[in-house]
């Protein structure tokens, strides 16, 4: 297993570098662009003295590298800073919000996968037929629909015209509370899932198509298996492997979707936190959320690699 440990060490170092770069990118982006947080926090009534005082307190009057060094130093002690707007430690905020966003993404991803896999399979099997065109067309139309437009249509349809689901997500403090009010989760989860289905089914379709041209399929046919059995026993498994890796890769995209969906449905997750922080130039929160998402992405891609190895014996045995 030395190979595996070595791999982990290498990936871990890479992850550190990537996270470091993430923090640099966001930090520089935030601090270089015009309009610091002082005005946002203090408003038009903030006096020049107060602005100066604020900037001094937050260290915004120092040079950028100095500020970054200070930030990094605090970060290493686990201090993500304090939200200006919410008057809470960023760490606390993240601790509350992250599970909620994960709940949303996990539910909608699961839903999306459940729909996309059979959908992609059908498209691939019926390739070139009318039903493939119809489903492919539908998938692209879904893909082409901005999430906020989709959410809007959902709200109009299912909360206004046919008021079956609430238009607002549950506002519970804990996951348990959220789940108790599950009907409120329906629209956000479905809206978000819809955005992903298109992508996944498209991917599934081409993965299945790729596998269908593989020679082992011909071998399987030569053994006398029915096409259905070949699909299930041979093709599906091989096509699901890249899909699994896709999940890891699409984590940032999922978070992007979560951001829009959360702010549409007032879902108290990280996306909403980020959204509000951006409106109010709440730098510590912006940095904190981005870093957490960065960590999630990096960990996600690491897990993906491991998952890939678990699923694909070609990689597993080398380890």
């Amino acid at each position: 297993m030395t190979g595996f440990t070595g791999f982990l060490v290498k990936r871990f170092l890479q992850a550190i570098v990537v996270l470091f770069l993430v923090s640099v990118i966001v930090f520089v982006l935030l601090h270089l662009l015009p309009g610091g947080p002082a005005r946002a926090i203090l408003g038009p009534k903030g006096t020049p003295q107060q602005i100066e005082h604020f900037n001094h307190q937050q260290g915004y009057d120092r040079s950028l590298p100095m500020q970054y060094a200070m930030y990094l130093k605090r970060l290493l002690t686990g201090d993500l800073g304090e939200s200006f707007k919410l008057n809470s430690p960023v760490f606390e905020l993240l601790k509350q919000r992250l599970p909620k966003t994960l709940l949303l993404t996990v539910l909608s991803t699961a839903l999306a996968v459940l729909i996309a896999v059979p959908l992609g399979l059908v498209q691939a099997v019926r390739r070139g037929k009318a039903s493939d065109y119809a489903l492919t067309g539908l998938a692209f139309l879904l893909y082409a629909t901005p999430v906020f437009f989709l959410g809007l249509i959902m709200i109009i349809l299912f909360a206004q015209v046919l008021p079956v689901f609430p238009a607002e997500a549950p506002q519970g403090e804990t996951i348990g509370e959220l789940l108790r009010d599950a009907s409120g989760l329906v629209l956000p989860v479905v809206t978000m899932a819809f955005g992903i289905i298109a992508m996944f089914s498209r991917y599934m379709r081409s993965a299945v198509l790729d596998n269908l041209t593989e020679e082992y399929v011909r071998t399987a046919m030569a053994k006398g298996q029915s096409s259905r059995r070949i699909m299930v026993r041979h093709v599906l498994r091989n096509a699901l492997i890249p899909l699994a890796t896709l999940l890891g890769l699409y984590l940032p995209t999922l978070f992007s979707g979560a951001l829009v969906v959360e702010s549409m449905f007032n879902y108290p997750g990280m996306g909403l936190l980020f959204w509000n922080a951006a409106q109010g130039s709440d730098f510590p929160v912006l940095l904190g959320v981005t870093l957490v998402v960065g960590v999630a992405t990096v960990v996600g891609s690491l897990l993906t690699d491991i998952l890939y190895a678990v699923l694909d014996p070609r990689i597993r045995s080398v380890a």
Binding site: T47, K85, G280
Partner: protein, 592 residues
């Protein structure tokens, strides 16, 4: 909450009942986040003050004068009684209502006020309401006359109205007997009487105030004297209040409801959706939905724009490198003001939820600060008049853009600093993110162009607009902006007295456009210092005429939507809440 959101009740009639819960929606970006009545800079939001004053009785506060209408500074809901000015208005005596007790049974005394004064004086920089020269700088000496009287010796004579309305309203009585320790668990004492001690006490309190998550459980905030006490304060900013059973105020000030919930929302849209489903009892709708007013009325709600005590305007930069000379011409400002169709903007773009701004003093609600002359629109929408004004001063419009053809300083000439062929081209920084504002600016651009004034609108996020439109000197790098707008939610909310010393006096901190007019400075000083009530009228009329800024429609603080059976709601234009007056009614004869 309640079934389906439909309320079977008209806006009047019914029998009042005790009890019930009311949920009030707070606007986007108004997350209650500060409980300590000394607001740190950035935590001075009106929603914070609104909630604080339910827990800690204000000494003076802009309260609605329920008999006369309009606003006053004290009534049964305030701690302070009529203040008395003496010594040529250089001393003010503040008597406190007697018999008021903290929830732990201790009386509210002058010492509590002194405690506040010491904390504020020693920690000016960390107090959001501080600006140089005013409270507490203008108090030479704080004197405790007796247990229920304090006396402030001022550095100079002040206009009593102005001082009470804009300075005494900052006073707070804080439970010194409960808060006066330097450290957690430390001895409570008179530490605040030394600056160092006051710093330490303040630091500790601030420290507690910085942990929003523990507000609900922190014993510090349990000592209150208001009609309400805290039942919960979520991280999301949702605040739940229940009646303070130890409240010692008069009967009229005691809550009828069992509970009020202040619920912040992140977007107006999400609030709207919840409102439609009946999830809030007292909410608001985006201005755009005003057109759908009837829908809500059918559902049993009343729609009531909450007018703010504010002025809304576009700042002219008189020092603008490019357009300063243009801005400095009154006739140009007049022409431009004639081109602002405030009426159409209010009616169409704001769907009737905004009212034209005619000068620095708000027209609605009526107040003692308003004179008859101020209610007249001096600059109604009139393209022809605007064109005449320009033509009369030597501007010609050939290719769509007005150009100066008669430079010079004469009466019929363009004015100082304007060269021949200079075009009337201006840029406007406007805040982004609001359809109404975007549309207003577009409408403005369109109508200005009718008189040959070319406006380039650059939209920026609010913070950038504020950050970019700072006072500056001509030709300096930061002074290349001509006009600036940040008034989607009103440009400036006044304290009770709408004096403009922070806005329009030379060099003032919020005088972003570098407006400087000797007469205006003098008049503003008069509002602050002279005892004459007339001075505020003079100020209002002069600046309405002089156009230090371009007046724009003043949007309502919010377009409130209130359940028909929730009554007793007075929408204070200075944006305070008084849920203790709220009560539910039920239909006559209908049983619970």
């Amino acid at each position: 909450t309640r079934e389906g959101g439909r309320v079977d009740m008209g806006p009047t009639g019914g029998t009042p009942v005790e009890g019930g819960t009311a949920t009030m929606a707070l606007p986007p970006a108004s997350t209650p986040n500060w409980i300590f009545p000394i607001g740190a800079p950035g935590y001075g939001g009106s929603y914070n003050y609104g909630i604080q004053s339910l827990l800690f009785l204000p000494v003076y506060s802009p309260v609605q004068d329920r008999s006369k209408g309009g606003l006053t500074t004290h009534d049964t809901s305030t701690l302070g009684l009529e203040p008395k000015y003496s010594d040529g208005n250089k001393t003010v005596t503040v008597p406190l209502r007697e018999g008021v007790k903290w929830s732990d049974g201790k009386p509210v005394t002058a010492r509590d006020l002194e405690f506040w004064f010491h904390l504020v004086k020693a920690n000016k920089a960390d107090w959001g309401n501080y600006s140089v020269g005013t409270m507490p700088d203008n108090v030479k000496r704080f004197e405790t006359v007796d247990d229920h009287t304090v006396r402030l010796h001022l550095t100079r004579a002040y206009n009593p109205d102005w001082f009470t309305a804009n300075q005494l309203t900052l006073l707070r009585a804080l439970p010194q007997h409960a808060w006066g320790a330097k450290t957690d668990g430390g001895e409570i004492g008179d530490w605040d009487r030394t600056p160092a001690g006051a710093k330490a006490v303040f630091a500790r309190l601030t420290q507690h105030a910085k942990s929003l998550g523990s507000y609900g459980s922190d014993p510090l905030w349990k000592t209150v004297n208001g009609p309400w006490k805290l039942a919960g304060w979520r991280d999301s900013g949702q605040v739940t209040l229940v009646p303070n059973e130890k409240f010692t105020g008069p009967k009229a000030e005691r809550p009828h409801l069992d509970k009020v919930v202040f619920k912040p929302f992140t977007t107006a849209d999400s609030e709207y959706n919840v409102l439609r489903s009946g999830g809030v009892d007292y909410g608001y709708i985006p201005p755009s939905v005003m057109a759908q007013k009837e829908k809500f009325e059918e559902k049993g709600y009343r729609v009531d724009p909450w007018e703010g005590w504010a002025a809304t305007y576009i700042v002219y930069n008189f020092n603008s490198t490019h357009a300063g000379p243009l801005m400095r011409q009154l006739y140009i400002r007049r022409a431009m003001q004639h081109l602002v169709d405030q009426k159409a903007m209010s009616d169409v773009i704001w769907q009737g939820s905004a009212t034209p701004t005619l000068g620095p003093v708000p027209i609605t609600p009526k107040s003692q600060y308003l004179s008859k002359a101020m209610e007249r629109n001096r600059y109604p929408f009139d393209v022809a008049k605007a064109k005449r004004l320009l033509a009369g001063h030597g501007w010609r419009t050939d290719d769509g853009t007005a150009r100066c053809v008669r430079p010079g300083t004469g009466d019929d000439q363009c004015g100082a600093g304007i060269e021949r062929d200079d075009p009337l081209e201006l840029t406007l920084l406007s805040q982004s993110g609001s359809t109404e504002t975007t549309n207003m600016m577009q409408e403005l651009k369109s109508s200005l162009s009718k008189a040959g004034i070319q406006l380039t609108v650059r939209q920026q996020p609010l913070n950038s607009v504020l950050g970019n439109s700072v006072p500056c000197k001509a030709k300096e790098p930061g002074c290349d902006w001509d006009m600036s707008f940040f008034g989607t939610a009103g440009s400036w909310y006044y304290p009770l007295n709408p004096s403009g010393e922070q806005l329009f006096s030379t060099g003032a901190s919020a005088n972003f456009g570098n407006y400087s007019d000797k007469k205006a400075d003098r008049i503003i000083r008069g509002v602050q210092y002279s005892p004459d009530m007339k001075s505020v009228h003079e100020y209002g009329e002069y600046l309405a005429d002089q156009l230090p800024v371009m007046w724009m429609p003043n949007p309502a603080y919010q377009v409130s939507v209130i359940r028909n059976d929730l009554r007793g709601i007075g929408q204070n234009p200075t944006i305070t809440f008084a849920p203790q007056y709220w009560y539910y009614v039920k239909k006559k004869g209908a049983e619970k």
